[in-house]
Symmetry: D2
Amino acid sequence: MATTLLKLSCPDRVGLLARISNFVAAHGGNLEEVHQFTDQSEGWFFARLAVETQTLNVDLEAIKATFRPLAAELEADWSIRSAETKPRVVLMVSKLGHCLADLLWRWRSGELSFDIPCVISNHETYRDLVEREGLPFFHMPVTPETKADAFDRMDAIWREMRADLVVLARYMQVVPMDLCAKWPNRIINIHHSFLPSFVGANPYQRAHQRGVKLIGATCHYATESLDEGPIIEQEVTRVEHFHSEADLLRLGRDCERLALARGLRYHLADRVLVRGNRTIVFRD
Amino acid sequence: MATTLLKLSCPDRVGLLARISNFVAAHGGNLEEVHQFTDQSEGWFFARLAVETQTLNVDLEAIKATFRPLAAELEADWSIRSAETKPRVVLMVSKLGHCLADLLWRWRSGELSFDIPCVISNHETYRDLVEREGLPFFHMPVTPETKADAFDRMDAIWREMRADLVVLARYMQVVPMDLCAKWPNRIINIHHSFLPSFVGANPYQRAHQRGVKLIGATCHYATESLDEGPIIEQEVTRVEHFHSEADLLRLGRDCERLALARGLRYHLADRVLVRGNRTIVFRD
Amino acid sequence: MATTLLKLSCPDRVGLLARISNFVAAHGGNLEEVHQFTDQSEGWFFARLAVETQTLNVDLEAIKATFRPLAAELEADWSIRSAETKPRVVLMVSKLGHCLADLLWRWRSGELSFDIPCVISNHETYRDLVEREGLPFFHMPVTPETKADAFDRMDAIWREMRADLVVLARYMQVVPMDLCAKWPNRIINIHHSFLPSFVGANPYQRAHQRGVKLIGATCHYATESLDEGPIIEQEVTRVEHFHSEADLLRLGRDCERLALARGLRYHLADRVLVRGNRTIVFRD
Amino acid sequence: MATTLLKLSCPDRVGLLARISNFVAAHGGNLEEVHQFTDQSEGWFFARLAVETQTLNVDLEAIKATFRPLAAELEADWSIRSAETKPRVVLMVSKLGHCLADLLWRWRSGELSFDIPCVISNHETYRDLVEREGLPFFHMPVTPETKADAFDRMDAIWREMRADLVVLARYMQVVPMDLCAKWPNRIINIHHSFLPSFVGANPYQRAHQRGVKLIGATCHYATESLDEGPIIEQEVTRVEHFHSEADLLRLGRDCERLALARGLRYHLADRVLVRGNRTIVFRD
């Protein structure tokens, strides 16, 4: 059963939900799922409506055209798309492949619905893993000297591949600020700590030294400020005194896998709305 | 800021959300919070709308009167009430007072908003605890011989006290089936296991014998079937081989406190809707 | 750094820990890690000692020979082995491959240390997944008519493969009672519910119908009683009213992966001791 | 059944566990519970032994005298005490009483075993709550001008009360560095964030602004560095976009209650050993 997704955020006003649901009803749309949130302190309205496509009496382009003037009046950020159109996601990885392997499984088994135009790495480590899935693997080394050039080429490839999203699946190079700025809310990173704890390098080592009793991972949009982008999802697990730093790395991997897979899932289904540095996540 | 709460459930149909939000908008109502859920498999619609009272251009009785014909047309179960009207909750307890003490604190500190017309117990254990809060304490012993009579009197007291809700806060007598039937979705119980595991007596003992690695507690509506009513909230905690049965009782107490306090909170704010044996819980 | 593992359980008595640690010290053994637990109610003692192999002044066979009379005196169940000897684990799967894929990754990346002599399935679904890892894949169909024969052959293969352990990684056939009895504490199953809730078939469907607020998975030893063997590990996750049965299956998969991977990890490192229907798990 | 507790930490060496368990066995001591941990990277040994008092063939003073030379040889930090001797704990609170009320219940119900010589507050808010428990309540206002004096008097009272431990149960004044230094590992604080996230003031406000998806609380020893002392216990809970800052405060209270109650429990039973800025916690 096909679904049409309407996502929008705009300044709050009286009667907003009525207007939007009237709009859908006026086109015969049967609502499968509705999420709505009003941030009272900011006076901002967020919504996601999943409409049964076959009940709509107009096609996708027509409904977008009809919604445009209403959206303009509401000063809304919005999108309408078919849930069946798979987003194109470029995966980036370095030498730790657990998140990559996890995403490949969820992709291949159909748990997550997206296309993978290519996997890019600054190492050759996972070429086989990727190619045996029938996916293109690009090795793009990054050195301090070549970094600027390498990321320019990366940007070019992402565009060439018509990527809707880039996932840094334990990609251990810091993406340059200007590149993040060019792909706003379109680069997802998994950070191996429970942010804002342990921003930056070696979070597990620092967690071990600090003697914390819980460690975690954070799935967030990459922005110009390192590890400070909008958080989509976090996961934690308990640790004890007998866990060495190596144990923390091991236990943390499961947090990373889960936080990234869930964060990606929400993004792919248009369940994440961003306002400033906060996310509204209409979970499923 | 005063709030008016509209809660309803009814058969699903196209345009339902539009009609309800139009209704609110037509009376000038500004929506503070909206929850909506459609159970696709059952074809049933559930909603809770929190409306800023001062924006409404009619009073509570008038809006109820206006909504009545619409509700009838929609074949809806519904209620409209002022969020500031505190529900009247009778607390029942036996010899384990941790849930009672927890609820009394949350009540006195204002974390939970309700009135306590009285506390009833089949033991004298907590008379002091209750009376020093300035609350009436009724000792109503229950023996196998007097049980039927005792619960008839209980029912009478509940009605006399104009109770909106009865909370079995570790009340260790089984409430008779017919009494449960007379107070549908108005008796909340905390069961000391993770239902449906360990229905019935001595769940911690049985959990220990079974060697489970997690124990829990379940907050549910009491129905005619013991421990089988609609579940509102559950909580679990990890246990290990070194935890004795006494440890399980201790650890379980925190699960019980949390599950009951949260379940009660949701109920008090009209956030729980029941359909068959399942609950829709619009959490806050 | 090589490690020698001593695991034992026996009736408790005064001075037991002293005798065992004296035994290790007498052979020069430096203790890396010691776990000890006394079940006071049963009067039973459990221990696991990890000894730095290079500090021992005798070899593995000699230390076993020396320990034998002491163990006999203590009436102990015991084992001494090199931690570097990888257990041989046969994996069994049916049509749901998420646990299999997860274990293959943890095996290949070295997170879990074991050998896989073969993977057996009653379906062809995962032949490619397995063979591309360079592992033998055996398709052994099971029908009601052939079931007895099939499991006789299974048993033969397990023995032929010198399996130390069999893992039912979402293998959807019930292993016959007599076969479980022949492989005591050597068959690990992942059950897709939070046992003892939802023993038997279709646990997610029943969890959905019951309206529970948490679902889970249980890693346990298979015994003659279905889903009633000693529990090694459990994992749970929250669900809400908006999660369909399909959502429960999806969310449950992550519980299954985690509970099985952890349970297997503990078993492989001799961290699980069984007494009756309970496990002592010295986690790492 | 009375218990004698031996707690020690010392440099690791071969045969250490044998020597200590021999010591206990030599005095006829039956071990109820043994915990041992060797920090391999630091070469440090930690142990806690619970011995059945009635099986010891000498009294407490005698066993301490006998252990002294061994401890000296091992260069150990150590203590031997009767588990039945209740530690004396001064509770400190400001205007938020949820942790205080929680501890008072656990104390009165016997869940936690300690004596309360007095409760001290910089406000009068909880005088009644404390005095109706029959406990002395001291109001000690703290202003910027009087702070130094006030804490000198606090120190005097703590000593006068023969306090073994001071618990800052949401006491909102920063204890001066020198006072922390005088009471090493004898002042327990509950910080209302998941440290090291949000060190300092207003952690919930900052958590809300950062848009984290989990909040928490940390129970730790107060040291000369604000919020940087050894962590004993932490607790977290999930939050979502619809949770306001006020919701975070509410949800956080349950984290604070649990983390503090558990941390205190471990400390009271000599289950916490400190080395540098890390704790070894032998949980029960």
